[in-house]
Amino acid sequence: MIRIRHLSKAFGPNLVLQDVNAEIEQGEVISVIGPSGSGKSTLLRCLNLLERPTGGEILIDGINLLDKKTDVLKLRRKMGMVFQSFNLFSHLMAVENIMLGPVELLEMGRQEAFDESMRLLTMVGLVEKAFAYPDELSGGQKQRVAIARTLAMKPEIVLFDEPTSALDPTMISEVLAVVRRLAADGMTMMIVTHEMKFARDVSTRVFYMDEGTIYEEGTPRQIFEQPTREKTRVFIHKIRTFVFEIRSRTFDLYGLQGGVEEFGRRQFLPEKQIHDTQLVLEELILHKLLGRLADPVDLTVTVGFSETSGAIELMLAYQGEAYNPLEDSSEDLPLRLIRNMVLNGSCAGEAGKTHLRLTLGNNP
């Protein structure tokens, strides 16, 4: 359906995309992941010529998009686009936002367009907001209207440009649920996203972008569990872990807790599990480890999440006295809290540092 060959794009002297090659077939759901600045959004925007590529070609059903003779507006109607910042038309009500394209561009009758728009609003769960203006909607609601607006043009493919990046964490799932439903209905989609769990669940193929090109592609299983190339591995590892460095006895506890919380939300962990992790780290570091650290303080906390067991793994590497809370025989409150939540743990010296590993149970 779409073939991309040797596509490149430069902004002045900055080469953002180089030699991108890909094929997208009908019915595929492709997630595009990768570090920021790797050209994910640019690739998507090149596909419907919101950015003009500097080289290469894009074939849509055999027609070259970059040919001067191609009717770009017509091809764009086949490709819907959902933006990070929703971009609803602020002077129109929700239902008018959806109707505008079909009435003006597809020459659909107003009544038919209206009925179709109401059907789409029902599908995204917002029919009662049909006569609301964009500034009366929450972020998640705006994005759902924007998705309905795109679908009203009956596109053959929908491009999602980070559809949840501008949303509060509480609103992300309502938007993703709509996208999941589209995937289940067989809609061809290309999604630039930072929601790894979602990418993994919903897509048929994953593009990992780095160095301005599609660095590695494969099924979600291949990319998330057995990435073959070095940079992919580092990226996947990074999104699965949270690292916090402590360099002083008066460190930023709230920074640590905030980081753990954000990490937990990205992994879709239940509130309880996030809270338990924060509690164990606070009790362990403040009451047990600070006194055992050697000067200068050098403690690295790594929080990881195991997809297979669903458990949280903590790794604390530091210079100082070896310590394992499970082998501590005292009976104070911090220790009782820690032991209550830790399933198993080990402590060993490696390369001049003490490594304390703890696994937290995922018990309700």
Binding site: L73, M81, L88, E104
Partner: protein
């Protein structure tokens, strides 16, 4: 009142701007402080209010003022004997000769004396122009005059009348020429002759050496002199406030059907304002597009245009258009005013539009483009409705301010609302009532127009629209 002028030493004395009175004043009372005015009406009001102690004026006009205004009188001493003559551009010697010959004939035939008696007499019913149809077989005389100098030139029953007009009609009749009369500010008469817009001027103009350097004078047709108008001892009781007001209303609007002048002026003001707003908005839109264009050939000139127009007083723009750009073109002053105000309005409106358009967020353009709208559709469906909402409140203010600004068109011989009220003031010698009445009319016009815009504003404000989609039914 005696002829002793010593009590005016060091006092403020009114002088008509562009007149020859200043040299007369300096000759008689060298230490007097001249104050400059644009009309005798203003000077009369200033004398009555005590702002000046007197002003100089030609004797026949002084008589007219005193007849019409309680509380002033004039000192019966001629400060300078003067001859009044017609003025011509330097190159119109032939016309000047012909006019001189006609004046000599009229004087010999006693016609000049009869004109004199008619316009300086007390019989108002006799003050009518001769019933002459000018056929214009030998062309046209474009006559510049100033209607604020009764009994020489003034408005009566909606027509220009007076000694000078009477005389000029008889001369034009002898020369078989038609008359086209431009009513200008006094100060604009000589520039109009020099620029070639007018062929002849008649406005009780005194012959002076200085003026003779710029224009050609005919032989004098009237001999008079300069006198000084001063406040008389306590004005006779003017009745109560209300009866005074009633009398002012009668004199300003009802006598000689003067309300018709006001209506005519109002029509001119509204015509200029509305036409300029429409053309200026279209022009401003064009300038705005050029200003936003990526090409320097479009954006730099449009930026220059905006800065140049915004930095130039509108009066100067009008004068340049009237005397220089269209100086040799026979074009109605109203048209020149529309051009001038359109240009001025365009410069301001284009910048408003630019900010309005730029306030619409780019994301919506992209979303519309991604749906498949072309650039024109994006503009008309998305950008324009939103920009209009941003712009309209300021646009409204700018329009109302333009309506008021049109009051300067008197400079280029247009009789708008302000000019008409000036004319009425020049007949009634009453400063305040016509001024305040005019202010109220401007206020009413501005209010009505603002209200009209508010209706449009309400229509395009989404929050005040009915929550329904046009042309569909809810199933």
């Amino acid at each position: 009142m005696d002829g002793d002028l010593s009590r005016f030493v060091g006092k403020k004395i009114g002088i008509l701007t562009g007149s020859s009175y200043e040299s007369v004043l300096m000759q008689h009372i060298p230490s007097a402080l001249p104050e400059y005015f644009n009309s005798f009406t203003d000077e009369t009001a200033a004398v009555k209010a005590g702002k000046i102690d007197g002003f100089l004026v030609d004797e026949p006009i002084a008589r007219d003022i005193v007849n019409n205004t309680p509380g002033v009188t004039y000192i019966r001493k001629v400060l300078r004997a003067d001859g009044y003559a017609f003025a011509f551009p330097k190159d119109q010697t032939a016309l000047c000769e012909e006019v001189n010959a006609s004046i000599a004939e009229l004087e010999a035939g006693g016609e000049l004396r009869r004109i004199d008696a008619r316009w300086f007499g007390t019989d108002a019913a006799a003050k009518v122009l001769p019933d002459i149809r000018l056929d214009g077989k030998k062309g046209v005389i474009r006559l510049a005059t100033n209607s604020g100098s009764p009994p020489f030139v003034y408005h009566k029953d909606g027509r220009l009348v007076g000694y000078d007009i009477d005389l000029v009609m008889r001369i034009a009749d002898k020369l078989k020429k038609k008359l086209e009369i431009d009513d200008l500010d006094f100060g604009a008469i000589i520039p109009s002759l020099m620029s070639g817009r007018s062929d002849m001027a008649a406005s009780c103009i005194t012959i002076t050496e200085e003026r003779a350097k710029s224009v050609l004078f005919s032989n004098p047709y009237y001999r008079g002199g300069v006198v000084m108008v001063v406040a008389s001892s306590p004005a006779a009781g003017e009745g109560g406030f209300w009866s005074g007001l009633k009398e002012s209303f009668r004199r300003t609007f009802l006598v000689e059907d003067r309300y018709r002048l006001i209506l005519k002026g109002l029509g001119v003001t509204v015509t200029i304002s509305v036409l300029s707003a429409v053309i200026g908005t279209l022009l401003g839109f064009g300038v705005c597009l050029c200003r936003r264009a990526s090409s320097l050939w479009a954006s730099v000139p449009s930026r220059g245009f905006i800065q140049a127009v915004q930095g130039t007083p509108i009066v100067v723009i009008l004068m340049i258009l009237y005397y220089i750009v269209f100086g040799n073109v026979d074009i109605s002053g109203i048209l020149v005013a529309v051009v001038g105000f359109s240009i001025n309005f365009a410069a301001y409106v284009s910048e408003m539009m630019r900010t309005g358009i730029e306030a619409v967020d780019r994301g919506q353009h992209e979303a519309a483009a991604a749906l498949g709208f072309n650039r024109l559709q994006v503009f008309t469906r998305i950008t324009f409705p939103q920009a209009a909402r941003h712009v309209l409140p300021v646009f409204k203010g700018e329009f109302v301010s333009m309506v008021k600004m049109t009051s300067v068109v008197g400079y280029i011989a247009i009789q708008d609302l302000t000019k008409m009220s000036d004319l009425i003031r020049s007949r009634t010698y009453e400063a305040f009532f016509p001024l305040i009445a005019t202010a109220l009319i401007y206020f009413a016009v501005a209010y009505a127009l603002t209200h009209l815009f508010s209706l449009v504003e309400a229509r395009i404000d989404p929050k005040r629209r009915k929550r329904a989609v046009k042309g569909v039914v809810l199933s």
